[in-house]
Symmetry: C2
């Protein structure tokens, strides 16, 4: 499955850390790319540093118009999955989404324009209680890939963690200053 | 299963929003309580407002000493689950944790003291890539309860969402000014 994420509606500064976390979750949970607008360029630097250290080629694209991204990806036959606490319960739709080939996940901040609900192929609620777009994205990606994302290999990593019961076991592949 | 969360190591102001999201995820994903220290009291107000509007009696307790909380809950036979990117892969331990009766989940911010690793019954990694303690907590709670937390009822809610394919369907139980 090919997965991309579109972040919309974040407010400058106030949402910077949340948007950074959204991007990190997208990268760590198997998405290949995140589109975002109006964000602090430092977020891109942060993600590039993470790529350098931990591997992989997760991509960030800054965009001007989120609607064009949704429409373009729809026309290329990606399914649009919009995360909203008002949507269908993930427990009822995860098996359907698992069968899609290409998915664009829309992650809103505060109020999301009605048009997003209409453009979406799936409006999905990770439960119908208020929580966090970060956890919502994490659980959606985990359900979509049935946990297999946690066995993925990140190419060209300087550092790699070997899971361990206690303490820290890290392989460092490059000498550092 | 009875689940509580302990938040440790947050830095004042810088981590306030992240800690709020951690607390919201704990509440929305079936934990009964969160312990936290050194936090902005506004976080408690925020969660109380959420309880009033969306129901349930999720509890926040401000604490002085996190070590005492861990030791006390351990002595009462709760298992300590510490979320860390260095731990065992969740895919390998979720079935064991599902069988526990009482769990205290430890969610750290930046650097976590070595003692936490030693006190933990499980050091668990939601994948071994850097992401967010918010998504880590969300996925852990989802795995532990196999998604059943999203069918829970929150008592005395003023507002309740009816899941829907498109748009918003909210039942409002009280007149508001």
């Amino acid at each position: 499955m090919e997965i991309e994420v579109l972040r919309i509606g974040q407010r400058l500064v106030r949402d910077d850390r949340v948007t950074t976390h959204v991007a990190l979750v997208a990268r760590a949970f198997g998405a290949t790319k995140i589109y975002m607008n109006e964000v602090n360029p430092e977020i891109k630097d942060t993600l590039e540093k993470i790529n350098n250290t931990w591997g992989g080629d997760f991509d960030i694209e800054f965009i001007d118009n989120w609607k064009n991204v949704i429409k373009k990806r729809k026309s290329e036959s990606a399914k649009i999955v919009h995360l909203t606490m008002y949507g269908e319960n993930i427990n009822d739709v995860d098996s359907k989404i698992q069968n899609e080939d290409e998915v664009l996940i829309v992650v809103g901040a505060e109020k999301v324009p009605r048009e997003v609900y209409e453009l979406a192929d799936y409006n999905v609620a990770i439960g119908n209680q208020p929580h966090s777009e970060i956890s919502a994205l994490g659980v959606l990606l985990d359900r979509m890939q049935k946990g297999n994302q946690f066995h993925a290999t990140y190419q060209n990593a300087q550092r790699k963690i070997i899971p361990t019961k206690q303490g820290k076991n890290v392989i460092v592949n490059e000498t550092r200053d």
